[in-house]
Amino acid sequence: MAQGPRRRWLWWLTPAAAVGLGWLVWTFAGEPQAAPVSAAPPSAGARPAANTSSQQQAAASAAPFSAAGANARQMQLALWQQRLERAQSALDAYRSSTRYPHESRPASEHPDQMQPNQPVAEDHAFRMPGTTGSANGLQLKTTQERVFVQGSESVRFTVSLRDSDGKALPLRIVRAAAREVPPARTASLYPEVPLDFNDEGNAGDAAAADGVYSARLQPATQGFAGLLGQIRVQVFMQYRDLQGFTYFDIVYSGDAPASWQGGPREALEDGSLNFYLKADVREAGRYVVTGRIDDASGKPFALLTFNEEVQAGPQEFKLTLFGKLVRDAKPQFPLTLRDVDGFLLRPDAYPDRKLMPRLPGKLLASKEYPLASFADAEWSSEERDRYLSELSRDVTQAQTRIDQLATGP
């Protein structure tokens, strides 16, 4: 019985709501609310600096046929042409980039992800913190096998001093040690571990007397068993009377949150080639698993990623090689799945991940499939539709504004 009068009240409210909505639309659609800081001057390689003065708009509309009005309209036109260019650029990039799903990408787009087990090689000036070290021309070359380390894995570190001609120079390793970097305001429970950086072919050094000083650290057996955290290896060096310093960081997770169960399998499904990897998941959560695909000649072809929430228990991680990617690139079969790594993502924590055991090397060679067995359709999803619709709307709006400005007031 009480609903009747309420409905009548709603009819009264309709015009008021329209007025309110109109006011809000007018407010949100207006120019930005704040006074501008003066725009930076242009310099080489730069786009033209922003010039969005609302006075231009005011001049253009207040006296549209005056010289000032025409000038203001031209400036507005130039401004909207820049906006159109940006909107078109965002739309084109998104459309092109999402022909394939984000989880199934050409290797050429991810060149630095295709060799995950290659050491990280860096060049540094030979110096101590707070000193310049630029004048001596000495280069400290370093490598570390990996940054994220799991279970019984070890990491090899190297340092090598070179002169400006690339010639190896003798180093004295003054001190080298590994220690936990505990969270702020927390004492470490792990004692510092000395490391033997040497050039004698021992303890991780690949070749004696080559000027490359090496050490190997296996956290699980060298004092860091049970740690989920950061380990820092500090190296203090000397060359003649010059002191040098460098450090390496690794992030160590001892216990795996899930373990692989058997080898991968493949299945051609819905026009794409799926690779399934079985795992026993002990900790539920968001897992990020990445695999690499080479073509028959060994050339990197695709990067496949899984990034989803997973329940505890027996699971299969699916890596999808998208059909259109195969159709477009026409790789030579068989394809090889190799170098799979994965981790449990720990939101809002450090370390942010617990690693699964790495699966290095070749894991599966696919069957031969005719090209026609792969789908040729672009990726389709609510997410892509949403983006293409919005970004297209921006292009249309900018073009409409340009058309209005070009045809006069």
Partner: protein
């Protein structure tokens, strides 16, 4: 009088509900190292400069502490993206320095996650309530402007010039920053890179051109597991950082969807905002003013 008053308030309530379903664009600014703004207060632009500055439509400051690890602080960015970049609402993103690492990490790690659509009315912690209980995949982001991006790390962390006991500094070690996530995975959004070159103090540590905190290899989005030496074309003894998305001189690619739109050939812009939208940030602010509408 009471009826009039009731009508007035009811009309405002209905208009507010209607407005919540109206598409709105926002400009989100994500700070770098040192922070300074109040966490969760999207109106606090302390890190950047006067809040009166024109810095894009409906600007919001996404403050994080600029001290702790990227992963520890990431919830603050996800909260902001949930608030302003879901449902019918869309965002333009501007970042500075380690803010590059922050947004890149967010998109690569959580860009495929299901997000509840929110009503953009945050509480004091910067959290918003669900709008209709439905979810969407990822956030609505049109593009990202990056000033002096530290996504590739900084040698000032490598050498210990910055306090290596600081959690964020260890994230900014070049090898760590580059291994932290797949920088190529922006989920289709373009990162417009603005690289400054007015650096002199650390020229012995930072390779190639730098803005006194990050070198071109990072601010220019150069891919790889380590840094490198990249310069302006006027330097004949160093590979050029090229404009656009193409590979740099010497052949090394940029991260996918990373486009260098500003290279500081005049060596006029350093890293620092100086409390007034200064340094390379001035270029990004101008770009946001122009394009983030």
């Amino acid at each position: 009088m009471r009826i009039q008053s009731a009508l007035k308030w009811a009309a405002l309530a209905v208009a507010a509900v209607a407005a919540s379903s109206y598409a709105t664009n926002y400009s989100l600014w994500i700070n770098g190292r040192t922070g300074g703004g109040q966490l969760g207060n999207y109106a606090d632009f302390t890190y950047w400069g006067p809040s009166s500055a024109n810095a894009g439509v409906n600007k919001k400051a996404v403050n994080w502490d600029g001290y702790n690890h990227i992963s520890d602080q990431n919830y603050l960015v996800r909260n902001a993206l949930d608030c302003y970049c879901t449902g019918n609402n869309w965002c333009y993103i501007a970042v500075h320095s380690a803010g590059d690492l922050m947004i890149g990490y967010t998109l690569a790690m959580y860009g495929s996650s299901a997000r509840y659509k929110k009503t953009p009315s945050p509480n004091s912690s910067g959290e918003c309530t669900n709008s209709d209980g439905t979810t969407q995949t990822g956030w609505n982001i049109k593009w990202v402007d990056v000033a002096a991006g530290a996504g590739g790390g900084s040698e000032l962390s490598d050498y210990g010039d910055w306090a290596v006991s600081e959690p964020l500094v260890s994230d900014l070690k070049t090898s760590t920053a580059r291994a932290m996530y797949d920088h190529n995975n922006t989920r289709g959004k373009i990162f417009y890179m603005y690289a400054g070159a007015k650096g002199t103090l650390y020229s012995g540590a930072l390779p190639g051109q730098d803005d006194e905190a990050v070198a071109y290899h990072s601010s220019g989005g150069v891919s790889g597991s380590s840094g490198g030496s990249y310069c302006n074309p006027s330097d004949w003894f160093c590979n050029d950082l090229t404009l656009g998305t193409g590979a740099n001189e010497g052949g090394r690619a940029k991260w996918s969807n990373h486009s260098v739109v500003f290279r500081d050939d005049g060596e006029s812009y350093n890293h620092y905002t100086n409390g007034n939208w200064g340094g390379v940030v001035s270029r990004v602010r101008a770009d946001m003013e122009l394009h983030a509408q």
